[in-house]
């Protein structure tokens, strides 16, 4: 695993890019690292909790579904006049069937007017589908209050979650 500063962007409070072979055992330590990096800057516990939830679901998504050896995770925390903005991004290669499923889910999410109502609907539907979760990505806008976008480059899936981590920055 390598960690480097993202030097191409404007100055940020935290900017972290990881390029690694994703494994389930890494998620807990990564959450702890992200919490340690962001906690000094995020003024409220709810904001940090939302950020970590989104990061966790994105990390699990690449652990579960990436093919190939390397995946990427990026975090950027930036102070703006309107508050503390966070951007999380993952990039991983995906099998064709997974790519199709992800596109279908993310397009439905983008089309939903109300992310919480959409999440509730998915929860009701998933209750009868015992072997499939399918809730992880929808949980991000519903519970983290972040916008979720995706892009594809051949067999690479790029997910970006963006939102306000806090109204104010810790002094």
């Amino acid at each position: 695993m390598t960690a480097v500063d993202d030097v191409n962007d404007a100055p940020a409070l935290v900017s972290l890019t990881l390029s690694f072979r994703p494994q389930a055992t890494q998620i807990g330590p990564l959450r702890t690292l992200l919490a340690d990096l962001c906690k000094p800057h995020v003024a409220d516990a709810d904001g940090l909790s939302r950020l970590l939830l989104a990061a966790h679901e994105l990390l699990e998504n690449i652990v579960k579904y990436s093919v190939g050896e390397v995946a990427e995770f990026h975090l950027r925390l930036e102070a703006k006049a309107t508050g503390l903005l966070v951007r999380l991004r993952t990039k991983n290669r995906a099998a064709p069937e997974r790519m199709a499923d992800a596109r279908w889910r993310l397009d439905a999410l983008a089309a939903a007017r109300d992310p919480i109502a959409h999440y509730d609907e998915l929860i009701r539907e998933s209750a009868g589908q015992r072997d499939v979760s399918g809730l992880g990505l929808a949980r991000i806008p519903a519970e983290s209050e972040m916008a979720l976008f995706y892009a594809t480059e051949q067999d690479w899936l790029i997910l970006t979650a963006e939102g306000k981590a806090s109204e104010r920055v810790s002094q």
Binding site: R50, E60, S126, L135, R139, E143
Partner: protein, 126 residues
């Protein structure tokens, strides 16, 4: 009253411990409900439902005071459990006891309450 046939489960990083008082079953969750806990939670909640029907429980309380996180797969196991109780001829109440210092809990559990508002309650414990 019948003896409880459930035992504590889990390992390093995640545990569930049951206690039966009268007809109320209390499940104390500790640690992080992540990918390593998913199968444990899924199977355990099936057993909880079987026990609830066997004993005739009136309520199951899930104490999340020491549960630091729950991923979407563990969350899904609670969705399935609640849906099972909702569609069961014999029903019991499900209470979630939350830690106010862990804000994700209220956000996540509100979604479960909306799934079955007549079965699920959320309480904050100090």
């Amino acid at each position: 009253m019948s003896e409880l046939h459930l035992t504590a489960v889990g390992g390093e990083g995640f545990q569930v411990t049951p206690t039966l008082v009268d007809f109320n079953l209390r499940l104390v969750f500790t640690g992080s409900g992540d990918m390593n806990a998913t199968a444990v939670v899924h199977e355990y909640l099936k057993l909880v439902h079987e026990e609830a029907l066997r004993i005739g429980l009136s309520q199951v309380s899930c104490d999340f005071k020491q549960l630091t996180f729950m991923n979407s797969s563990c969350f899904k196991s609670f969705v399935v459990w609640i849906d099972t109780v909702k569609n069961s001829e014999i029903r019991y109440q499900i209470a979630f006891l939350t830690n106010p210092n862990l804000p994700w809990q209220r956000r996540s559990l509100e979604a479960l309450r909306r799934l079955a508002a007549n079965l699920v309650t959320i309480e904050t414990i100090a």
